[in-house]
Symmetry: C2
Subunit: 361 residues, 2 copies
Amino acid sequence: MESIPRQQDTARQWMRASRTERPVVDSTVTIKDVAEHAGVSVGTASRVLSGNPATSATARERVQAAVTELGYRPDARARALRSARSHAVGLLVSDVRNPFFADIAHGAEQAALGASYVTLLANANEDTAQQDIYLEAFLTQRVDGIVIAPQGEGGGNLRALERARTPLVFVDRTVDGFDVPSVTADNAQGVELAVAHLAAEGHTRIGYIGGPSSVSTGRARHDAFLAAVARHGLDEDPDLITAGDFRSASGGAAAAALLGHRRPPTALLAADSLMAVGALGEVRRQGRRIGADLALVAFDDIDWFGELDPPLTVVAHDARELGARAVRLVLDIIEGRPVESAVLPMRLVVRESSTGRPAAD
Amino acid sequence: MESIPRQQDTARQWMRASRTERPVVDSTVTIKDVAEHAGVSVGTASRVLSGNPATSATARERVQAAVTELGYRPDARARALRSARSHAVGLLVSDVRNPFFADIAHGAEQAALGASYVTLLANANEDTAQQDIYLEAFLTQRVDGIVIAPQGEGGGNLRALERARTPLVFVDRTVDGFDVPSVTADNAQGVELAVAHLAAEGHTRIGYIGGPSSVSTGRARHDAFLAAVARHGLDEDPDLITAGDFRSASGGAAAAALLGHRRPPTALLAADSLMAVGALGEVRRQGRRIGADLALVAFDDIDWFGELDPPLTVVAHDARELGARAVRLVLDIIEGRPVESAVLPMRLVVRESSTGRPAAD
DNA sequence: TTGTATGCGTTATCAA
DNA sequence: TTGATAACGCATACAA
């Protein structure tokens, strides 16, 4: 009786597909079927499948044969339910469409794959509500661990995570008041590199296009900018400080505001790639030319920044490495190894956008 | 006896975390705990939780209270195991770092979220082997359906998918020999629009930077290009045809080859955004200027293409819509509704890169 | 080395 | 409307 609803279900599901293929194998081949087909007990089949050494060569052989013949695929959910390990990690990025986070995701995914963990990638879309939804989903899916580039002040489900004791790692960003292992970049150093470079190029008025103060990197870069400007004796004009939301449009708006002042800056520093691109557009619209009329340095080294005209000078961090390290960190927690937060260095890649001339290298 | 290993496990897992917080609630609150706390049976608790109308107001109230008090979160795995529905769809894109696919992913994710499905996003990294790995993972995770932008000729697990009868939808790309519902763009129309535009601008020698012939969009655009060139009476010179791999570097190489010929093209058409960016870099390196010296039209309207200098003329498809439609399609299959493949129109967005002058609109 | 039996957390069946 | 109980697919303790 029990299996009938399931079959009906499957039938209904494919009713209109009207495919002409052979009904080969049912989708739900269980370990029981395998055991039967191999002429062994489920216990033996299970042992063979999970690599338990307590198996005979014949058993292994017959079970393997049955597996390939029936097209058996273990049910990860049942397995996880029984063994309290899902072998899945959740990765929550702020915005998949931001190339920087796409790179982080890629690095994280590859690292997880290497450890034979599956990655559940979710996209908060720079929105705290969506972050909570996906965090909730991760929790109900019982992922073994979570890597997140967090939004906001850390209310809502971020606290629930702590309570649920799910292994958690912050990547790129952190949240105040959370004692969570993290892999971040040395933002202060990055800003210092950029400002020092622009100062060396003779600029004294640098316009800053910052990120939102609700994000740790936004705050860190802002503070570092102020410090660096003071340190290098540049103009500490509040008019030179703007803030966007890490998205393209806000970069354009910020650039417009900066360039609209009576004493506009001669150089621009954008706190992320998307805002840099927005600024690029605004500068062009104003009929000015990056490199020649106005220097531009951006955070985040996106692959194609070097292909632009002019190529963009950037403060780069290795996003892939950031993602990979974060995953390794969360696996360390999961598997009970000692964990250590990491701060990765940033480096300056000088190109024409800040010098007006082809780079030396 | 049975629960002891689990507790040990949890303990080991957090041993070195040495956090000082209160042990508030154990992570694994089950429905049993909820029922006990509420003074009802698990059956009643389950009914309340799943919105079964056969519940009394008091029962609902008490269970809800217990849920919030204990911080209960249903176990999606157990739920899926029992109900044969995971409420998860797998999304496999060719390359997350390609902005076009990032947009597709975003659209798909939002659509799934709207239907309260979770999206498992995986990245094939333009690699058939990785595609198979993730397909395998989707299968073992027993996702309810899969949306994929497929790689290669469709060997390996793509066939296994068919056999497993997992609802499947192709997005953007298709694979010959598979009778699978799909959401694609009208590539032929897109190419025609681009070629017609360039012809109208007076170009007779258009260099084509195509995609790999192993991908359906690569083939479709290639064939359409040949047809359009013939139709408009332009130079049908084989030297004007190149092929890349949908990645930046190959676009640069293709541009170099095209521009190196004795009779170089006066316009370039790139079959995707990343290759267009690569071409952009190569053109700059050769000291030429897009728009003025050489026209460029690209496939895929990436947000920031309009911000570049000069802004890029593109053949655009709405990637978000592509992703959203694909998800809706797979949900249609899952939930037994009639399904219908869709071909979305493309449209030409004319900007300076192909005209040398600011666009009218 | 193997088989049997139990339980993981949940939903669904069946009586009450 | 409710409670007891079986079953989902799998892994493991225990006995053989």
